[in-house]
């Protein structure tokens, strides 16, 4: 029997719907015969091929997870206003199956960091993240939780991934709800094991990092040197007298 592999989620599986009453009746009779054991060998294989859809358990699980995400009801700052409107009828995250916001991290599997994380808030956020059950994902929404944003000062953590893993960074100050939904869709693809490539891969633009000042497409000497240094083992730091 040949197993047909299809991607879940992107391409809907074709369904054979019986058109008329007679066709439905014929299908029922066929099913009864199969259950009775009258359908054998080649016929049985054909029957199974037509009516059974096979996939990997992992893929099925991830498909289900990606389409029933429970975000935590958790706002940090002004981005939370945009996050709230994501749930409203105008933007409607229910289209992607994540309209049920959970008021407890123990029931949620997506944490949206909607705003700046102050150094006093960071341990609280980390504890919330630790309280969430696996599998769990994190979206850093807006410039502040991604890099500190405009708050380049003593009170704000410069990027939430300094103290917890972040799956998706959404730029903007604040990002519009559409941008958040776009990031959410990217997260869904990531959960299904089919993450979007970065734009450099997608547009074949590797080597165009900011330090590349030579021909496009060729890394600069600094970039090559940095890559070589990155592969070297880190030397142990000597204690210095302050």
């Amino acid at each position: 029997m040949e197993v047909e592999r299809r991607k879940l989620g992107r391409v809907p599986a074709p369904t054979e719907q019986p058109k008329t009453g007679e066709e439905l009746r014929a299908k029922q009779i066929r099913a009864r015969e199969m259950l009775r054991g009258d359908v054998t060998d080649e016929e049985l294989e054909q029957y199974v091929e037509r009516s059974v859809f096979t996939t990997m358990l992992e893929k099925g699980l991830n498909w289900a997870r990606a389409n029933s995400i429970f975000p935590a009801t958790f706002g940090l700052a002004c981005c939370a206003i945009e996050m709230m409107s994501m749930v409203t009828a105008r933007y409607d995250i229910a289209r992607f199956g994540a309209e049920a916001l959970r008021a407890s991290p123990r029931q949620a599997d997506l944490l949206i960091l909607s705003g700046r994380v102050s150094i006093k808030m960071a341990p609280v956020v980390r504890r919330m993240y630790d309280q969430m059950l696996e599998p769990k994902w994190v979206i850093a929404m807006g410039a502040c939780s991604s890099s500190g944003g405009m708050f380049h000062n003593y009170a704000v953590v410069q990027g939430a991934d300094k103290f917890m893993p972040v799956d998706i960074h959404i730029p903007g100050c604040p990002p519009r709800p559409e941008a958040l939904l776009h990031g959410f869709n990217k997260l869904q693809r990531l959960i299904q094991g089919d993450p979007d490539l970065g734009w450099r891969q997608r547009y074949n633009a590797s080597g165009t990092e900011e330090w590349a000042r030579l021909e496009p497409g060729t890394p600069s000497p600094e970039a090559i040197e940095a890559a070589a240094r990155a592969l070297e083992p880190v030397p142990a730091k000597e204690p210095t007298d302050a």
Binding site: K120, Y154, Q158, E210
Partner: protein, 185 residues
């Protein structure tokens, strides 16, 4: 708000009771300010609060300021309000920095500027003095519970001082990654 002669009268009355309390007066931008000796600031506040005909019973705000490189370096401002006459007067206590010249903002080793707490006069000053302590490291003598209020308890340094470095830690983008390879470890 007392007018300029009225402010002089207040200053004279305070100095008559305890000479050397008010060192200067200032009447600018519609603000009447008494600049007082920090050792006697509490007595001046008490006089303004309790004297018949003054009755500045409401502490609208207490805040600190850092005037680096001026000396004395710090100042604590008290904004008082008389709720009967709706008059305001400011009291400014200039506090010198005892840790001047030896890295006062560093690891908190330098001695802190000190001032008498006015919580006994104005209970509202409790949190505001804690904030002044948190941000400027001004130690209020006699405060019932002087500890940080906004920053984390284990924070080191006085972040609103003018010699505190501007900006947080560096954010690593691709353009400055070459200076710090493997920063993510």
């Amino acid at each position: 708000m007392p007018d300029a002669p009225g402010l002089e009268l207040i200053a004279e009355a305070i100095n008559e009771k305890d000479p050397g309390t008010v060192t200067e007066t200032s009447h600018e931008h519609g603000r009447a300010t008494l600049i007082v000796n920090p050792e006697k600031a509490l007595a001046a506040l008490r006089w303004l609060r309790d004297t018949e005909g003054q009755r500045y019973t409401f502490l609208a705000s207490l805040h600190a300021a850092d005037y680096l490189p001026a000396t004395p370096r710090f100042a604590v401002h008290y904004e008082l309000l008389c709720r009967d006459r709706v008059e305001r007067v400011n009291v400014k206590a200039l506090v010198p920095d005892p840790g001047a010249g030896n890295g006062s903002n560093g690891a908190g080793e330098a001695p802190l500027p000190e001032l008498d707490s006015c919580v006994e006069l104005f209970p509202a000053a409790d949190f505001q003095e804690r904030e002044a302590y948190d941000m400027f490291g001004i130690s209020f003598r006699g405060h019932p519970d002087l500890r940080r209020i906004l920053m984390p308890e284990d924070y080191v340094g006085w972040p609103q001082r003018r010699d505190f470095p501007v900006g947080g830690e560096e954010v690593l983008f691709t353009h400055n990654e070459i200076d710090a390879p493997r920063w993510f470890e």
